[in-house]
Symmetry: C2
Subunit: 214 residues, 2 copies
């Protein structure tokens, strides 16, 4: 896709700059809260200037989580040649960005409210994640007819979300190891790459955004 030109290009570039600053602020925040003023400061703007580009705090945070999902898809999706089960790779990465994990669970919980600005985003996000993971499981196992891929996808995504909640309260929990064992118990080893042996997740390319909760 060619880059948009004219006034939209400028707005879009500024939006992206704010999203990147917010991703960085949350990634570095650990357990602490991030204020919109912190984010505005990082891009040399005022609070009102940031709001002008997004309309609301929820809209900005939703855009941040969308960007995080896109970065994770690029980094841990099938196209990246990642042969680990996707949840292991993502959870291993997420353990280094508690601020973004916290933002995710916060917003996902709030978005359950039907009128919440991020409601549609989360509804569609889970539909998409479940469909993609189910497809990946069906392609990865030797006998797709022997597994209920839709159920497995719901369970893996649920366990990954719930482990993140427990881990935020007790960082001693090894989320990736726990989900690895679940994958082995329910689907068998190496399913993410058919029968290929697993290898560690590739190092992140420089400057790449953090990964979403799976």
């Amino acid at each position: 896709m060619s880059k948009p030109r004219g006034p939209y290009a400028k707005t879009s570039a500024k939006r992206q700059q704010i999203i990147d600053a917010a991703l960085a602020a949350y990634a570095e925040a650990g357990g602490r809260n991030v204020s919109l003023r912190d984010i505005a400061q990082r891009v040399g703007m005022t609070y009102a200037g940031v709001m002008h580009h997004f309309g609301s705090k929820e809209a900005l945070l939703t855009a941040v989580l969308e960007a995080r999902d896109a970065a994770a898809e690029e980094r841990f999706g099938p196209a990246a040649g990642n042969t680990e089960p996707p949840h292991s790779a993502v959870l291993r990465h997420n353990a280094s960005t508690p601020g973004l994990v916290k933002l995710f669970v916060d917003l996902a919980a709030a978005a359950a409210e039907p009128d919440h600005p991020a409601h549609d985003f989360f509804e569609q996000r889970y539909e998409r994640l479940r469909a993609r993971l189910a497809e990946r499981i069906e392609h990865g196992v030797a006998d797709p007819a022997a597994v209920d891929a839709a159920w497995l996808a719901r369970i893996f995504i649920a366990a990954a979300d719930g482990l993140q909640l427990q881990w935020l309260l007790n960082p001693d929990i090894d989320m990736a190891a726990d989900i690895d064992r679940l994958g082995e118990a329910l689907v068998g080893q190496g399913w993410a790459a058919g029968s290929a042996p697993r290898r560690p997740a590739p190092d992140a390319p420089e400057g790449e955004g953090p990964a979403p909760s799976p």
Copy 2:
């Protein structure tokens, strides 16, 4: 334990009345938000009056979730003679109280912040739930040495929390059925009662509070 008398008894009874009203308000709320004013109105008090008894909205909501946990323990715990795996029974019940499920995920997410007033409550809650469930699994399976009960407890609790998040966004998901299948896949059928056959959860005694997320 005998009931406290004197001024404390009065305060305590009023606190309990507010907690019960809040439980009812959230249980009936569906996906909608509940305001402290709604709760105050149910007990014929002002907002300030309710705040006088709890100090903060977070403290009241934490007390509500504590009461919900206690009710679920009474209703679905081993002492209740419930032979279903505890998560199935609790999730089946929770599906009728989306407002309380939403309150739970909201507050659990917010409480990940170390300075949040409910942080200690949630930290201890998960420690306790994990320890209890692990113990129950060890007692329920034929060969305790063959299972990693601590891992299973983390996974069941995580899956139950995560399924509730997905269910809030898509009520077509059958949380109890999904967690039942997980129990069967990981531990085998009937583990909650040793080798006893499972039976439906008993009906709730009248006036009992709603159940917590597991």
